[in-house]
Symmetry: C2
Subunit: 346 residues, 2 copies
């Protein structure tokens, strides 16, 4: 495999280098064609490398930063004061071509703003969208976007999201002629917001897109579509609702029987049941699919959950590796050209 | 307790009288102060009463209807052809004061349209909202609205929803000074749609409302608020997402271990575990809280899920009983007067 270099904002997220550095080492160990640029305050990173395997450390370079963008600062202020920050330097490495993608668990607004400013949207894309790949009931996966890069989306934006989502499903999930649906509050053609109905009529006419119509919230995890498109407000609320319910179930399963005195065999039995249930539901755990991809830019930018643990952040790094290896931005650009040319003719 | 009379659209829903009639008998058996008017095609209802307890049947009157509104017909067409239908007659019984509330599992659009037409919105309410009471993790309950009565909501409507939700939480759940939150994509004041931010500033100033700020999708079931307000599109997608995930979990729990040959003791153990889990999660089962209330009208109208089974439809009848007994429409009207008078002065 061709060698790939990724930039990692080592300072972002709730835990900073304590999580990002072990995750980076984990990703290097699993992917021998990978090199990483760890951007951050060197003093906080190097001690964490002291005991690591020297072969892995050899494929990793610390790029010094002077500051860190706080997670709770306003986007406009964060961008104004971003010079020298780990997040900005990581994005600049992508811009300059020194890295093929970048990953950060830092301030979402700042990451999206800086990415747009530095890496620039593709031709034909008004606004980038946040995309994630959700596991579903059939043990397959669904591409969902926008998850909150935009608060409001008009019909043109929804069509662009659909094209980007379809390319992701084909290139990253390997789905042939992926089914594309719009999230709506009913399946009839007359339902929902004007912007959604207008997007539906464009998508229905686009031969490049296998548009299957509307889908409702209860179908999010049923696997009836490969790509689910919605505006950023709805996508954000929907994803967080789903994660909230899944986490609640997982925590209830875990806590079953805690706090009661039990005989040893009931305890053992309890653990065995927990393990079985964890196997059954584990693939739905939000940690397993951490990492939203900012699609529509001239480079790959992955946003990790701020609260990601080591395993979850390593998953985000792997997403960056995949997207960069499959040349996702280039392929989206090519597909967009085809759909836009056709809709201009119409 | 004062006697109450409710009108039940016996023909609505996927199963019609086969579900609604046994549910009605069940509700009569549990509530001795209740009388029911069962509206429908008599030939489809009376056979189902033949073997019922005559004391219950004595508190039940069949009101004949000539037609049924189909569940898949367009709202405008359904309303045009509604004369003589079971749904319309049930609503007319409320309008004429012969019933204190009505329940239907029929066509949602038609029910909302006809209810608005016949029962009329309260002064100060632009549009009625669909509300439900969701069980949460702390074994308490959260009032959520709008669930899809409106596709789009401006800030005035969101404020009206908040007032209606607060009254519901006080009167029906008995919550003192209920906490009210707006569903948004972040907790910072600068986040989200303009309409939400404008509603927040009105609610913050309203002394009658205990407004606690924004809440995100992952907090839907955590019990951090007593009332959660959102526009109808987002509310519908959120609720359906939640129900989809909960149903998936419950079905996975149920199917655990099916399809494998097992020794008898493992089978027994499996059933015991299932029962324990059902106890633990049962209160989250969507059947347990069936029935959305159309708030903001001069009377009480409850919409049941179309697919409701006997138990779920009985829960919807009980919701109607509660709302009518607590005089919810009258109390909402009084509270609205107070908040609107204050915001006019400001």
């Amino acid at each position: 495999m061709t060698r790939l270099t990724l930039a990692v904002d080592a300072m972002g997220g709730d835990f900073g280098p304590r999580v990002t550095v072990p995750s980076a080492l984990q990703a290097l160990a699993s992917h021998s064609h990978l090199d990483l640029l760890l951007v951050g305050i060197p003093d906080t990173i190097t001690p964490l490398l002291a005991k690591a395997d020297p072969f892995l450390v050899g494929r990793l370079q610390v790029i010094p930063a002077e500051s860190v963008i706080a997670s709770d600062v306003r986007t406009s202020q964060a961008i104004r004061n971003s010079r020298g920050s780990s997040m900005r330097i990581a994005l600049e490495l992508v811009k300059e071509g020194r890295a093929q993608a970048c990953v950060s668990a830092g301030n979402t607004g700042a990451l999206m703003g800086l990415a747009k400013l530095l890496i620039k949207p593709l031709d034909g894309i008004e606004r980038p969208a946040l995309m994630t790949v959700l596991p579903h009931q059939q043990r397959g996966k669904t591409v969902v976007l926008d998850l909150g890069a935009n608060v409001d989306s008009d019909s043109d934006m929804l069509v662009q999201f659909a094209v980007m989502g379809a390319v992701m499903a084909e290139e990253v999930l390997g789905t042939d002629r992926p089914r594309v649906a719009l999230l709506n509050i009913g399946q009839e053609e007359t339902k929902g917001l004007e912007s959604i109905r207008a997007a539906a009529s464009v998508l229905k006419a686009a031969e490049e897109i296998n548009f299957i119509g509307y889908m409702e919230g209860n179908d999010l995890l049923t696997g009836k579509t490969d790509v689910l498109v919605c505006d950023g407000f709805v996508g954000n609320v929907t994803l967080k609702t789903m994660e909230g319910v899944v986490r609640m179930f997982l925590s209830l399963l875990k806590s079953s029987g805690e706090g009661k005195k039990r005989s040893w065999w009931l305890m053992l039995l309890g653990r065995w049941i927990q393990k079985r249930l964890a196997q059954r539901f584990g693939h739905l755990n939000p940690d397993q699919y951490n990492g939203a991809c900012l699609l529509g830019l001239r480079g790959t930018v992955i946003k990790s959950h701020g609260a990601a643990n080591q395993r979850a952040f390593a998953v985000a790094i792997e997403q960056a590796e995949q997207a960069a290896r499959r040349l996702v931005p280039e392929r989206i650009a090519a597909r967009l050209d085809a759909v836009l040319a056709r809709s201009d003719k119409a």
